[in-house]
């Protein structure tokens, strides 16, 4: 036994393995602190991405509204950073006092990365202070570009910090296969532990998810300010802000399933039994709930867009089509939510008449679900396209041909998705899995090429009237709240899925959880914990927004006070 192992053994012998937290218990305490910390972390990572992009639009597009919008959200980050750090500290104290042996194991492997994490968090915080407090000082010319660079650095530090933390939790899920229960943790090379099978898929998935989350929270903030607005002008400003937030959230959401697919595939490749536990084992019902939540997101996001078309002159041309889009979305949601691989005992199987439901079984397979979700993504993209075109009429000579090509691309993509969806029923599973790649490629290609054509076609387009920002019914703003709550709840649910598939292992098949909380709870209990975490987070975010309002005025500048900037036009 090495010196390190002897020291650890001595520590293990003298240290209790688990502590207890009053009333709610150790697991619930760690669950809440980890989840709320993660939600704030997603907020302080997602919003700077939003801020730096909108600042860039302000700089390079010459529209000061975007610059003011960017500053308004950076202001909220100041308090949110403190909240992130506080919940992070609670989590670390919780782990070191309630799960001391497990924490000792993790620190034995990851200590250097933990030091780097703390140092980078410090650098990130000071970059944020410079970024915010230097906003008005570095406002023009090169100084403004320097300021924007600070925003980029802020995102860079934040992303590295997230990647480091991701390495710890992904190690718990997928430790390299040469590490066994008898491996002395002090002998494990740091990079070997960091670069585990699920690290990069989680990194990519979380970067995209943070953009979605940032956009959704921005949308909720704007909707509240819209509802509380005292004038039409202020209402118009926050209507526009809500649109931007929703646009970013929905755009990133369209890409998110592909990143999730990659993560799922890596989990299967790492350990087939873990993948099966996740998708077909005791967690199988979780995916039905997830399908329901994503259906809510797609339907609500599209609903917001369709209502928004009411404030766009010229949009009435496209309104008749929305009912067909709605039909596709609802049918897609129903298919996606169809259960298939449920755990069932012999009595339940006998009652069902076999391993699958005689009718629904055919809709519950991945061929049908992949087809459904890809068609839902295509439909949502079409909604965006119609919204974008609503108040313009292209004048380029090839406009008609371009529109026909776009239509053909949609038809081709939908055809490819349907073809492989149906073909999947007639081939082996191993072949069928490969079909989803073709479906995804068809949809992504359609999105990219149709967008390029649309941008070129919009050059010099004739305007059919100014968008009537602020002319939105209140129900549209409540839709943005539902989006924010659903995104946050979904984040909690997916966190439970990722963590829960380890079941009774702290570190999968390396370090077993022997505490009284080792059993992984059912979805009912998990949902209560998730709702509690979401409620805590949203309450604190509301407090942060209120504080932001106390400290400074909003970025809205009434026309009488405004020195520059135009009306709220364009997208």
């Amino acid at each position: 036994m090495t010196d390190g192992a002897l020291l650890l053994q001595a520590a293990a012998d003298s240290t209790r393995a688990y502590g207890e937290f009053p009333v709610i218990g150790a697991r619930a305490f760690i669950w809440i602190t980890a989840e709320v910390h993660l939600m704030f972390a997603a907020f302080v990572l997602g919003v700077p991405m939003f801020a730096v992009v909108t600042e860039a639009i302000g700089i390079f597009g010459g529209d000061e509204r975007y610059d003011r919008l960017s500053k308004e959200f950076t202001r909220l980050l100041l308090v949110a950073y403190s909240a992130t750090a506080i919940w992070g500290a609670m989590l670390v104290f919780g782990l070191s006092t309630l799960y001391p042996r497990f924490w000792a194991y993790l620190t034995a492997i990851f200590a250097p990365s933990m030091w780097a994490y703390a140092a980078l968090f410090l650098v990130e915080s000071f970059t944020l202070y410079l970024y915010y407090y230097g906003w008005d000082r570095w406002k023009k010319g090169r100084a403004k570009l320097g300021h924007w660079t600070l925003g980029i650095l802020l995102n860079l530090w934040g992303t590295i910090v997230m990647f480091i933390a991701n390495s710890w939790l992904t190690y718990m899920m997928s430790p390299p296969r040469d590490i066994t229960p008898t491996t002395d943790p002090t002998t494990i090379k740091l990079w070997h532990a960091i670069a585990n099978a699920t690290w990069m898929p989680i990194n990519v998935h979380r970067v995209i998810a943070n953009v979605v989350f940032g956009g959704a929270i921005v949308g909720a903030y704007a909707s509240y300010r819209f509802l509380a607005a005292q004038s039409d002008e202020e209402r118009a400003h926050y209507d526009w802000m809500g649109y931007v937030g929703n646009f970013i959230a929905m755009s990133a959401l369209i890409v998110l399933p592909f990143a999730g697919y990659w993560l799922g595939r890596e989990i299967y490749q790492y350990d087939q039994s873990m993948g099966i536990t996740m998708m077909g084992g005791f967690m199988s019902w979780l995916w039905v709930i997830q399908a329901f939540l994503i259906a809510v997101l797609f339907l609500t996001g599209n609903y917001y867009l369709w209502i928004g078309m009411g404030r766009i002159p010229g949009a009435e041309r496209f309104r008749p089509y929305t009912k067909y889009l709605l039909i596709v979305l609802v049918l897609g949601a129903i298919v996606w939510g169809t259960p298939h691989t449920m755990i069932a005992d012999s009595k339940e199987l006998a009652a069902m008449g076999g391993s699958h439901h005689p009718f629904l079984g055919a809709l519950g397979v991945m061929s049908a679900k992949n087809t459904a979700v890809n068609l839902m993504i295509l439909t949502t993209f079409l909604s965006f396209l119609l919204y974008r075109r609503a108040n313009t009429r292209p004048v380029v000579p090839w406009a008609r041909g371009g529109t026909i090509i776009q239509g053909a691309m949609f038809a081709l993509a939908a055809g490819v998705v349907l073809f492989y969806g149906i073909r999947g029923y007639f081939v082996e599973a191993i072949v069928r899995i490969g079909f989803s790649v073709y479906q995804v490629l068809a949809v992504l290609s359609c999105i990219v090429f149709v967008t390029v054509i649309d941008v070129l076609m919009a050059r010099g387009a004739q305007s059919l009237g100014t968008i009537q920002w602020g002319k939105m019914p209140p129900r549209s703003q409540y839709a943005l709240f539902i989006l924010a709550v659903t995104f946050t709840w979904l984040m909690g649910l997916m966190g439970f899925a990722r963590s829960g598939i380890r079941q009774y292992w702290h570190v999968w098949q390396v370090m077993q959880d022997t505490s009284k909380y080792a059993a992984t709870p059912a979805l009912g209990y998990a949902s209560k914990m998730i709702s509690l975490c979401v409620l805590i987070f949203l309450t604190l975010v509301a407090f942060v927004f209120w504080l932001g309002g106390l400290a400074e005025k909003s970025t809205f500048v009434a026309s009488g006070e405004r020195q520059g900037g135009g009306r709220h036009v364009g997208h």
């Binding site: 066994t180 509240y224 019902w285 039905v288 691989t341 409540y478 709550v485 009774y504 098949q509 059912a522």
Partner: protein
Amino acid sequence: MWATNLKVVGIVLGTLALYTLIANKIPQVQSEVPQTLTLGANVTPEQLVAAGEKVFNGIGGCPTCHGLGTRAPNLLTDEKGTGPIGARCGKREAGKSCKQYLYESLDNPTAFVVTGYQPIMPVMTRQLSPEQIWSVIAFLESQGGTVDVTGDDVAKAKQLTPGASPANSGGSPGGGAFAAGSTDPKAIIQAAGCLACHKLDGQGQVIAPDLTHVGARRDAESIRKKILDPASSIAKGYEKLAGIMPKTFGTMMSAAQLEALVQYLAGHK
């Protein structure tokens, strides 16, 4: 403004309540921690079946694949007109009783892969204790067949692998108890589960290098080193699998077993 605030709070709480309600209305399945199973010599078939059903649906995780009809054959319901597993297990392999067939399927799942399915099943004897294995066999026999597992089967298995309880210890028996102390290379290969990844003499998987002619590529010293320290050399074309092979074989086998295995493989020119 208060009316707006109340509406916002109502929307938020209502959405949370709806999601929580739906999640509580669906079937509730908790993932249990494996419990130590102790069965005496006088255990009855009914007790074995009852214990086996718990293992099957719990720690064994069997319904995850068996029962869906897509990943693995149905065991509790009919499989392509052959009935549930208890009714068909004795007819699957000529000369093998139902009990023998089921045990070997759990101990070496790649030996009897049913046509149309992939060899994805893990070696269950490395995950479950002898008590758990035999109780599952009894439960499977009870599905349309006759239970002939007895306390003797459990006792014999425990004698062969004293102290073995992989599900609880996470480790292996170790030392001379490995492969019941046998120095027969085939028994060692079977116990170590080499064929789960390697192919040898037409048997096993092709995930890792084929060992049929390993003696032509490596001498005895190189094979010994590879078993004791799998990372010491990686076969060309298998770089992506570096780190997959367990490092524990050296500590699991006795010196005599290791030497017998090394010489056996080195002889495969």
